[in-house]
Amino acid sequence: MKPGRIRMLICIFLGNQTRPGRAHLVATLLLAHLAVPAQLLKPLGLDAVGDGLRAEEIRLAHGAAGCPAPSRLRRKRKAVAPEAPPRAPGSTSSHAQRLRGAGTLTFSRVAAAAPRSSVAMFARGAAVLLYRPQWLDTHGWDGFIRDEPARKVPSSPTFLTVSNSRISAISRWGQVRNMATLKDITRRLKSIRNIQKITKSMKMVAAAKYARAERELKPARVYGVGALALYEKAEIKASEDKKKHLIVGVSSDRGLCGAIHTSVAKTIKSEITALSDKGKEVMVVGVGDKLRGLLQRTHSQHFLVTFKEVGRKPPSFGDASVIALELLNSGYEFDEGSIIYNRFRSVISYRTDEKPFFSLDTVAGSENISIYDDIDADVLRNYQEYALANILFYSLKESTTSEQSARMTAMDNASKNASEMIDKLTLTFNRTRQAVITKELIEIISGAAALA
């Protein structure tokens, strides 16, 4: 099939309004090339696809660099037509090899001569993919669009002219990308540097608080384990018909500590659903304002009381006893409860854990409690209240230590990210600065040249 006949087909296909340009021709040929398997090309008479493409390529190979106008190109092509080397109809692969060896960026010229329509884009893209795939590796898609290697670092004044054409080429293609001005970059750099200072100092503060919290956690852990020993050794369990459950979530008021608050809130949410499915009545107590914020939209009806001003100072036994007193005087007669807190494992890891506690009646009614001798109601009530304060104290201590270590890690990561951004921006800043200087120089020089 000759190109003339293909043009006719395209004309018919697209309607008489569109005059099939070079781009349309190439696109159709490429489509045919792609759609039809190689073995059928010869019987169908389409094996001249490669020929046609190559003819186009050779005609355009002698065109000027840049974006020449179509008419000029045609004139030039006629002049150098005899230079086309003899070609024989062969397999597509040999064509492809020959085409690959021919010059640089020749296929880009196919559409460079035509108005930049979407068809031209397609033709160009397909041609590159088909016949010059390694071109993409070196130049990337950016270079493909811009006619320039994407990663070219300017080292000469020609950068400016090239970049100008780059911008205009882009706008013709429909992409809008403004080059950031020096002031924008400076502003960004300044703000990121400030943020980095802040996160670094927050990391230092968190590290100091973490050291203290970990030191205080050691005796608190022994204390807490001792307090829970009764429940574990006596295997006290609430019977299944006990309806009222209380969930205490231990967290804090301040953020920027990673997933501390969300892990506790997530566990509380799943606990609420599990218990409600079993038909129990659940109320939630939040130690720390963040939990209230996380849960109030969906579970506000479950909230009993929230404790604020948690996390500012290290927790003491007095804080735990205040919380315990409030729980016992809240008016909600719970049968059993659980405390959900973050148990500290190491500087980089913590685990959301759950510890149970029971009401006086549950403990008194438990079967294993009769092992313990000489217990009357008064003693047991005192004991239970004290035990509740102990468990709360232990969970507060573990929670603070986890929170400080998580905040230290989070702020450290933030500082690292900020310094990475600063490095990248500094490079961009220097590049832009050089560009501005070069531009001014050229203006001066061309002004002087015009006068001279």
Binding site: P219, V222, Y223, G226, A229, L230, E367, Y372, D373, Y383
Partner: protein, 164 residues
């Protein structure tokens, strides 16, 4: 000799009588070593240590705990805790309040809210605090304040008694 209840099948667990507390005439069965944990919220004194005897002051009276003591739960009142180590040396601590748990496996958890070793206490200061507390008790306006003052008086009285 195994208690009869251990021979019952699991299905019959619900029907069997609750585990009996040890009667007075029964000899102790179980480990003879006491795992003693004595801690306050800020300090650990003993952690699973092996001691001979511990004397604790509780609301129902003072008693000494040896290994294989009957399991019990008690609440402490202000007073002196004496710990007799394996070699016989006694250490005294003043506790303000807390709880003591003796489990069936002979582990003892003594958790006190405030613990002071005897050398941290001063008799003169204790006496002046006692007088102050007594005057507060007489001047207390309402029940809550009276109860708090009463607690303070008891603690200081115990302090003075311990130091004398």
């Amino acid at each position: 000799m195994l208690p009869a209840r251990l021979l019952l099948r699991p299905a019959a667990r619900a029907l069997r009588p609750p585990p009996r507390a040890r009667g007075y005439a029964e000899a102790a069965a179980g480990p003879v070593q006491m795992a003693f944990t004595f801690a306050s919220p800020t300090q650990v004194f003993y952690n699973g240590a092996n001691v001979k005897q511990v004397d604790v002051p509780t609301l129902t009276g003072s008693f000494g705990i040896l290994a294989a003591h009957v399991p019990t739960l008690q609440v402490l009142r202000p007073g002196i805790v004496t710990v007799y180590a394996e070699d016989g040396t006694a250490s005294k601590y003043f506790v303000s309040s807390g709880s003591v748990t003796v489990n069936a496996d002979s582990s003892v958890q003594l958790l006190a809210e405030e613990v002071a070793s005897m050398d941290m206490l001063d008799l003169a200061a204790a006496k002046s605090n006692l007088e102050k507390a007594l005057s507060e008790l007489t001047a207390a306006p309402d029940e809550v304040a009276k109860a708090e003052a009463q607690i303070r008086v008891e603690a200081n009285e115990a302090l003075v008694k311990a130091l004398e």
